[in-house]
Symmetry: C2
Subunit: 128 residues, 2 copies
């Protein structure tokens, strides 16, 4: 798979894909004789995983560490589990914060809905 195809498939720019590879956020991709990237299915799985984690706000630095641990093999399973567990807990904390904010926004929006009605009534009065 070419970078153009992968870029379209995951809606990530070619620049971002090259950047991710350069910093070790995805394992390095094989090149053909012309030096051009040829992504395998496995590469795509990594990209999809990383994209998902980044969408949820996991920092690049942490994900680089995860990829690094992964490439070191089974000896790092414990460390990987620890890393993922920490990130999961932080994710839950962020979601709880967001839930609070969501409720607050909903309250505010509801109040604005009620505030608009009196104004509309004012307008009606002045019309007749």
């Amino acid at each position: 798979m070419t970078i153009t195809e992968v870029s379209k498939k995951f809606d990530l720019s070619q620049d971002t894909l090259r950047y991710y590879e350069r910093i070790g956020l995805i394992p390095s991709v094989n090149r053909n004789k012309g030096g051009i990237r040829d992504y395998t299915e496995e590469d795509c799985k990594w990209i999809e995983f990383i994209k998902c984690m980044r969408n949820a706000g996991l920092p690049i630095e942490v994900l680089i560490e995860y990829v690094g641990l992964f490439q070191q093999g089974d000896a790092t399973i414990d460390a990987r589990k620890k890393l993922l567990t920490e990130q999961r807990d932080q994710l839950i904390a962020r979601m709880e914060d967001m839930q609070k904010t969501l409720e607050r926004l909903n309250c505010k929006i509801e109040r604005y809905e009620q505030a608009i009605i009196p104004i509309e009534n004012e307008l009606k009065k002045s019309e007749d």
Copy 2:
């Protein structure tokens, strides 16, 4: 209330408080005869609101716009409601993304706990 007190109360640095005021993220704070900020209860409410919204990831730019609309009075109620509604919808979308990632992380962690070697370890063979 002094900036030191407000800083401690909300766990925001003094620099951040001054920065927020400078860019219009909170309405401007009164100064005493010496030119030193004296925060009112009202100021604190704004700060608390902004902190909550920032924690949930609402962009500063959008919040500045909200504060601006607020200061223009009742004529902007519709616009404010629209702005908040858009932000709420985006917040929900982000939370849904995060929920998916959370489930995925939980799966992965569970697999590590069960000491089942993840499928991706197969991939490792090809690279070093």
